[in-house]
Amino acid sequence: MIEGINLSKTYGNKNVLRDISLTIPKGEFTAVLGPNGAGKSTLLKILALMSKPDSGEVKIGKQSFVNLKGELKRKIGILSHSSFLYPELTAYENLQFYGRLYDVRHLEEQIISVIKKVGLLLALNEPVYTFSRGMLQRLSIARALIHSPEVIFLDEPFTGLDQQGISLLQDVLKDLKSSQKTILIVTHSFEQGMEDIDRILIINKGQIAADFPTENLQAGDLKRIYVEKVAS
């Protein structure tokens, strides 16, 4: 479970997040939608312990990040539109590097397991600068999963992906959901990756404008609600 309690963040004079509280239960797949500058990515950075809120607290499980930041980070995997990969290193060396940062046990086996999952076994020893955009994103997925995180944060993960990459990412998300991982995806796309989502949060002007489950949502409802909430 992830819990954000009264989170606020200001950049200069701009209140990016205003006293946001939310709870994401274990195993839930939540999407955060909102227009550009609404505070989605800031919320993700704070929940992923990459940025400190000006006020408020983040808890993962029952642990607060205040004293256990390092331990909590072990539970988190992040997939962004940036790959976080080093072009001069091979796919194997990149995964080994991140695996060592997370102190992954049986790292060799884990590297082979995640690289097979993303279909890049044959490119394992190729330098990353030779990879296409789609291959980079696949390797990013492997990087984000190298330490078997309990919670996965995805920041606009479909940006720049070709159709094959989108399908692969959707399969990985299905797989993660079926293994009861908690997933939070930040996106402004209504089409990609929405099939398996349990709950939608719409953020506007640094506040939660809407928070609803997807189970009874009809086609077109989401767009209508989004326009209503963002326009207001």
């Binding site: 992923a48 790959s83 976080f84 990969l85 080093y86 001069e88 290193l89 991140y98 940062l101």
Partner: protein, 227 residues
């Protein structure tokens, strides 16, 4: 302690392997350093006495200038693909990054020193009256001080526009104590003075090294917060 050392080593190895593959910093640093010493010898043709007087300053200045070229690359590599965010989202303490990067930059500077230092003997007919061992110790301590403060300030400027130009501007004033002490100690060793005559300079370099090991460790957390 073992875990901290493992993380520092991981950052150190990654930086060094990346650099040895890309050959961006070391090649530029060596070329720049060699160019300075060649151009200087062609421009002035100094006498042996003048060499003794000016060479310590020339050696250190060329090292510092070429070192800055390398320091500017240290974090540029991390900004590419937002790799620094990837590192910071792992359970690593920012000081592990600082020490790992400083160690890697130090090794790169040593490579430059190993290649260029013998060339000073060739181009300037240099003779050392003092102990070569103490000279190497001075080079080591001075280089450590420069890299420690440089790695810290390179992190500070890496997010800013024109960081390549800004780094030397804020680095040089802070380098004055270690640069002055290193030049004075090197001059004394070249002249064959006794250890007691330049020991205060070596002590000053050592204190500087310790200060710039501890201060960044205290401040690096704030520098590395991702906003």
């Amino acid at each position: 302690m073992g875990r901290a050392l493992a993380l520092i080593t991981t950052i150190f190895k990654k930086d060094l392997v990346s650099e040895l593959r890309a050959k961006e910093s070391v090649v530029t640093m060596v070329t720049f350093s060699v160019l300075i010493l060649v151009l200087f010898s062609m421009a002035f043709e100094p006498s042996r006495e003048t060499v003794r007087e000016i060479l310590p300053g020339l050696i250190w200045m060329s090292l510092i200038f070429s070192g800055i070229l390398g320091l500017n690359r240290t974090y540029a590599r991390e900004r590419f693909n937002d790799c620094l965010i990837g590192i910071l989202s792992s359970p690593i303490a920012p000081y592990h990054i600082y020490i790992g990067k400083a160690a890697s930059s130090l090794v790169q500077l040593f490579i430059v020193e190993i290649i260029t230092f013998p060339l000073y003997f060739v181009f300037y007919d240099l003779e050392i009256d003092g102990s070569l061992g103490i000279l190497l110790l001075t080079m080591l301590l001075g280089s450590v001080g420069f890299i420690l403060v440089g790695t810290f300030l390179a992190a500070l400027t890496s997010n800013l526009r024109s960081n390549d130009a800004l780094l030397p501007v804020i680095l040089f004033p802070l380098l004055v104590p270690v640069l002055l002490a290193s030049i004075e100690a090197t001059s004394a060793i070249f002249a064959g003075l006794t250890l007691n005559q330049y020991l205060p300079w070596l002590k000053l370099i050592l204190v500087y090294d310790l200060v710039f090991l501890v201060v960044p460790l205290l401040l690096f957390d704030y520098l590395m917060e991702v906003d």
